[in-house]
Amino acid sequence: MGKVATTIDSKLREAFSPVRLAIEDESSKHHGHAGWREGGETHFRVEIVSQAFEGKTRVARQRLVYAALKAELDAGLHALAMETLTPAEDAKR
């Protein structure tokens, strides 16, 4: 795992105590696009399953994730695709 990915991983674990967390670095797929830079780690996809999302709208959930990763977003993390599920929603999939 790269440096940014490692930070994302630890911050999301701390913020959401997820029952499942998957982080995928998609930076190479965005080669040459806006926000891409040499060395990568600019575009990520995260899947978070956490009780913390219970009773919250999609917008509220994603705002929580953005807030947890504010420092990284300010430092060049350009795109964050996310799936935010409660354990109950995850079980229904």
Partner: protein, 113 residues
């Protein structure tokens, strides 16, 4: 009184357009895959929308992130309500919720979109 001046413009745009997409590029030439994905969803639903290209307007580009409390682009507004970014729009499209939002808010959809 410390509200950024650009908020006034943003409110004006949102007020004028029932379906408004803040995006990178234009509806015809999106310059980012995430913006393109939302344009695609709106086209599939046959919804008329107005696209605002934030790439040509640095003040707006920063301002919209603060206004919506949302750090990424694209951002979709329907009748003044912030719906979300690319993931949310796609997910709501797949579940049929997005179509429902447009219907409830009285936004016209093309027949058999």
């Amino acid at each position: 009184m410390s509200e950024p001046q650009v908020f006034e413009r943003i409110r004006d745009e949102i007020g004028k357009n029932d379906v408004l997409l803040f995006m990178k590029g234009t509806p015809v030439f999106p310059q980012c895959g995430f913006s393109a994905a939302v344009v695609d969803v709106l086209s599939q639903l046959g919804v008329k929308f107005h696209g605002v290209n934030i790439l040509v307007d640095p003040e707006l580009r920063q301002g919209i992130k603060e206004f919506s409390q949302w750090p990424t682009i694209p951002q979709l507004y329907v009748k003044g309500e912030f719906i979300g970014g690319c993931d949310i729009v796609r997910e709501m499209f797949e579940t049929g919720e997005l179509e429902q939002v447009f219907k409830e808010k009285g936004v016209a959809l093309a027949e058999a979109a």
